[in-house]
Structure formats: C-alpha cells, structure tokens
Amino acid sequence: MRQTLIAATAIALAFAMQPVVAQDKPAAKPAAKMAAKKMAKPAVVEEKDAATLEFEKFRAKMIEDGNPAELFEAQGEELWKTKRGPNNVSLAETCDLGLGLGVVKGTYVQMPRYFADAGKVMDAERRIVWCMVEKQGFKAADLAKKPFAAETYTPEQTSLVTYVAGLSRDMKFAVPLKDPHVKEVYEIGKEVANHRAGPYDFSCNTCHGVDGKRIRMQQLPNISSKAGATTAVLGWPGYRMTGNRMLTLQWRMGDCFRQQRFPQPGYASDTVTSLLTFMTANANGSTYTGPGIKR
C-alpha cells in the first residue's frame, strides 16, 4: 500500500498537474494547445479538452494500480474502532451516522441529514466532528485549528470521513430531502449559492450556475443540475495531486469561497453544510464512486 502511494506521488509529480482553477496562467499543455489552435473559436465548449481527457485516463489507470485514498480509509477504520479521547470510547460504539449505532455502510450517501440529538442537519465530516466532541470528549476548537491536510499532516477527521465514505462506494446518493429539516437547509443552501458579494460581485453561481462554461481550460460544473452536482461531489474525499494531500468537501467549499474573494467560512459550519446539502441532494440518484483522486 505504502509503495503504491509513493509510486502514485511520483507519477503525480511527473504529471505536473495545474491548479484546479487557474487563478494564474496554468502550465503549458502542448497537446491542448495544438488541438485548440486548430479551432478559430471556442465552438463546442461542452466537449472535454485534451487535458481533461488525459487526466481521466491517468486517473483510471492510477485507481486500477491502487487508489491512494485507500490508505486513509484504512487509517480511518482504525480510528473509528479504537477507544480514544478523554472519554475513552470508540466512535463505532457511540456515533450514530443516521442509520443506527454501529452502522457505517451506506451512511455517507445519505448525508447531509438531520440529527435529532444535535438538532442540526449535518454533512458527514461535521457529524464525525460532533461525535468526536460530544462522545469522545475532544475539544471542538482543537479540531478546528488545523482541519485540513498540509504537506505531511492529515487530520484524523479527514481519515475518518474517508473511511465512512468508502463504505458507500457504488451506492446512490439519497439525501433525505423529504425531511422538512433537510429541505429547509437545502433551500438556504440554494440562497448561499446565489449570494453575490465581495469586491468582485461573485457568487457560487457566477461560475457554477449554468452548463458548459470554463475558467481557463477548467470545466465548471453547474451545481444546480443533477449532472453538474454529481461531477462536483464525486471523487471527494479526494487525494489531490496538486500538493499530494487527502482533502474533503469541507476543504473544497472553503477553497471555492477563497477564489470567490470571500472571507473564510467556519469549519463544520451551517453555511458549509447548507451548500453541501444543496449540491449533494441535487446529485441524488447518481452513483457515488468512492473516495478518489482529484487534480
């Protein structure tokens, strides 16, 4: 497993991926450049560009050889089952992910959902953090201090989410929208996606509100559509080749707000949950392919 990961890292470095959203001029892509030169105008923007196709081929091969996310699934499983924290209890015996104590399988694709014990709609990562605080006795402030992976550090909650997500692989997204609590948060999330503010007047929908647009060469999924929302939530939690880190949707939402020129959303906050509720419910019915690899 470790060897595979090292190999994967080496390949990823060799592949020299560009950032997901090109805020700066991306690295030259000879194949894409040559292909694009032949077109006078960007006639069919829905078509995947050469770089995207190349990446998808590479990703398929990489997953065949051993998905780097599996390492974090294994670490997360151990964390899930071990008695830990000031209260010395395991999450396996105390943390209900919505389908009853002890059930992990199938829970990821049914979150965000409403948890009566917390009185809140929560996405998977937020629920895990809530359990770590309420059941195991960890301090919320400590968990929020460095919530996302950096160079050689991966937070425990990232591994835990990856483990939980892995047990929903090949299952269909089924966010319980019939629950009025969930529906309410979904509607609020829709408004968050609409909200234009900041120095550049951007909202989520400036980039992700219609089909078939690009920033630079990067395709922009329309998160209001089933297909676009599916593209947006698939592959997370994901091993990101830019920086070689395991990252979650909580991180991804924050990075979108950064590029939107917004301030920082609170970790495991209502705002992030509402957006994830909107996006994931829009993907309802699509099959979740498990923790994956992202550019």
Binding site: P42, P263, G266
Partner: protein, 207 residues
C-alpha cells in the same frame, strides 16, 4: 461600512422596495436565513475581511431579483454606476497592449492568500478568449478575439472599453464581470493597457 457600500444606497433601497413588491422573486425568508447564517459563519482571513459577506446596493438588487431587476430600476442604477467612472485627466485612453496582455494573463488579487496591497491581475483570460496565442481561455464571458478589428478603434469605442473595464455594471447592471476600476483592482494605467490590448491595430488581438 466603506465607500463601496455607501454607493447609491438610497436608490438601492428604493429599488429593493420595488422588487419586494413584485412577485416571482426568490423566497425572502430563506434568503434572510442564509444572510443571518453567513454573517455568523464567516471570519476575516488575510485581506478577506468578514464584512465582504455584506452586499452593497447593487449586489442587493441583483441578489433579490435573480440578476434580472425591472428594466426601469436597472437603467437608473446603471446610470449611477456610469457616474462612478473616472476617465484619465489627459484624455488618452489607449496604453501599451504588451503590458495589457501581461495583465490579462494574471488572475491574482483580493483572495485571502494574496498579500494585502499586492497588485491585482486583470483576470481577463479566466473568462474571455482574447489573443490567439493563448489557447487556455475561459468561456464565462464572450470571445474578444478580433474585437478592435470588428468594432473599430474609434474614440467612442475606446471610451466604451475603458468604462466597461472600469465598471462593467454601467452597461449591464447584473453583469458577471467585476467592476475593476470601481473597486480599485485596476488603476488608470492598467485599464489603458487593456484598452490597447483590445483596440490597438498592432495588438495580436486584431491581427
């Protein structure tokens, strides 16, 4: 509340009231809840201060009308935006297209990890096709390839391009394009250079 927030606030309040009276706009109770929630959840990081969550008058109107305010209101507020455009004192609107091309490439500026006060890029290629040598361009905005060749390098067009970059909302109130001059992202010289990139007959855009 900074200057940006003060802009035409009275007109905006009037416009918002007019919109509230009209049906078929987004559910205001969910909007209100979203606003309260976001005000509580966002915190300052780097130069991205928490108050960026608050809308200015124009944003408030666009947000409450699904980016399609009634035409009368739109025209009036576009006029207010146009009034914010400051033209160069020397009357010259064309700069150096080469500097403009460099600026058009950069997408830097205003995020929480950009150094405060560091110059912002034009962000142009993120959304527009411009010079034919750059094939990595976005499609959120229209193609600007051959813009000057098609429209002509007239004084009128120079003024149009300058003011459009300075404040895109002067022409289309809820345009997706930022107000680069209005918010101080681009200065006079930089906007002139971008005008040249689009209109100068020597610019690769018009070859």
């Amino acid at each position: 509340m900074n200057k940006r927030h003060q802009f035409s606030i009275l007109a905006a309040i009037a416009a918002t009231a007019a919109i509230a009276a009209a049906p078929a706009f987004a559910d205001s109770s969910h909007r209100a809840k979203a606003m309260t929630m976001m005000k509580a959840d966002f915190t300052t990081k780097g130069q991205a201060t928490a108050d960026r969550i608050y809308e200015d008058g124009l944003q408030a109107v666009c947000n409450r009308s699904g980016n399609h305010p009634p035409e009368k209101i739109a025209k009036q507020l576009e006029g207010d935006q146009m009034a914010t455009v400051k033209y160069p004192a020397d009357g010259k609107l064309m700069g150096d297209w080469k500097a403009g091309e460099k600026l058009a490439q950069s997408g830097r500026g205003f995020t929480w990890n950009d150094a405060p006060g560091s110059p912002a890029g034009g962000n142009c290629y993120n959304c527009h096709q411009i010079a034919p040598s750059e094939s990595s361009f976005g499609t959120v905005g229209p193609s600007l390839f051959n813009f000057g060749k098609l429209r002509g390098n007239t004084a009128e067009n120079q003024k149009y391009v300058y003011s459009k970059i300075y404040n895109a909302k002067s022409y289309n109130l809820c345009s997706e394009m930022p107000r680069f001059g209005h918010v101080g992202a681009l200065g006079e010289k930089q906007i002139k250079d971008l005008v040249a990139l689009l209109l100068d007959p020597e610019s690769p855009v018009n070859k």
